[in-house]
């Protein structure tokens, strides 16, 4: 069973890094569990999903090149037509490939 060989050091690394990722995933819940959020705080929390998703992708869309900007616009247009998620993803992937071919062929 040599393919199952693993050092204690490696197990420790996985455990510690797993604590870091799992800790981040439960800490917000543990901190805010049972807290009633109202008014301006609610406005701030309501903004978290769109604001964080936008922040994650903004550099991918705006800092890469013309192909990514245009493909982002295509995906947004398709999404605003209320297309299913899979169609929006496929349109974004297909258009980024085509625009990249157009702007830097070969």
């Amino acid at each position: 069973m040599s393919f199952l060989a693993v050092s204690p050091q490696f197990l420790l690394i996985v455990f510690v890094l797993g604590l870091a990722t799992y800790g981040s995933r439960v800490s917000g819940y543990w901190l805010l569990r049972g807290v009633a959020i109202k008014g301006r705080w609610k406005a701030a929390m309501d903004a978290v999903p769109p604001a964080i998703l936008t922040a994650v992708i903004a550099p991918n869309v705006f800092l890469e090149g013309p192909a990514e900007k245009l493909a982002g616009a295509v995906a947004l247009g398709v999404a605003l037509l209320r297309a299913p998620l899979l169609v929006t993803i496929a349109s974004g992937m297909a258009s980024v490939v085509l625009f990249r071919l157009h702007f830097s062929p070969g």
Binding site: L17, T54, A55
Partner: protein, 237 residues
């Protein structure tokens, strides 16, 4: 819906399958990315079994790629820990936001389910929460199935051990951007949303250019939240 304390809400197959259907497209996109990580891990000397353990235990694309970057440098474990935690800080905010939709779950059940809170599962759950209550079955269906896909394909990648080609040629690197654009579009509630998104995008882009690391995500999110507070009016629903 059954509510009776403890393990409060019964398993609901329909909700589970609904969550599964909502996350399925992204699960397909995860497989090649995970396999790609596996090939990187193999190139750094990890065995397929070690790749399996790390993918299942750490379970974070961003963190795992960065850890492999640092692997050959004999980085001390505390530095690895801080790097991974910094990379994962966005999940603190996501977990805080999602806590409002899972308040009816028992603490123990929520703490188990949150292990599977990835960016994509979280985005799907937040979008669902706009129109429907989140049940534990939905949460499980929308989040957990990514996990086996992630570690199985990570192991396969490490086992194959060679490059799988460039994910750019089929636009795979843009799949997550396209998905997030679609979900952001679902949050549109008029011009006020526009100000929030503009602040978030502008701040993230500027921060990406001038601030090292992944702080651009938290800075962009923070800017959007500040604008949301500044433009808040009592009558705003």
């Amino acid at each position: 819906m059954v509510r009776a304390g403890g393990w409060d809400l019964r398993f609901n197959k329909r909700d589970f399958l609904r969550g599964l259907a909502d996350i399925a497209p992204m699960t397909l996109a995860y497989a090649p990315i995970s396999a790609l990580w596996g090939t990187v891990a193999a190139s750094k000397g990890l065995t397929p079994f070690e790749a399996l353990l790390m993918s299942a235990g750490v379970y974070s694309g961003a963190a795992q790629f960065v850890v492999m970057d640092l692997w050959a440098l004999a980085t001390p474990l505390p530095v690895l820990f801080l790097t991974v935690f910094t990379l994962s800080l966005r999940h603190v905010l996501m977990s805080a936001s999602v806590s409002r939709h899972i308040a009816s779950f028992s603490k123990r059940r929520a703490s188990v389910l949150l292990f599977w809170l990835t960016d994509e599962a979280w985005a799907i759950i937040e979008r669902r929460a706009l129109t429907d209550p989140i049940t534990p079955s939905y949460f499980l269906g929308a989040s957990m199935p990514i996990w086996p896909v992630w570690f199985v394909f990570g192991t396969i990648g490490a086992w194959i051990g060679t490059g799988l080609g460039d994910s750019r040629t089929i636009g795979l690197d843009f799949a997550f951007a396209a998905m997030f654009i679609a979900i952001v579009a679902g949050f549109w509630k008029g011009p006020r949303t526009g100000f929030i998104l503009a602040a978030s995008a502008t701040t993230a882009v500027v921060a990406k250019l001038y601030v090292p690391g992944v702080w651009y995500i938290l800075l962009g999110a923070g800017a959007g939240m500040i604008v949301a507070v500044l433009t808040y009016r009592e009558e705003t629903p």
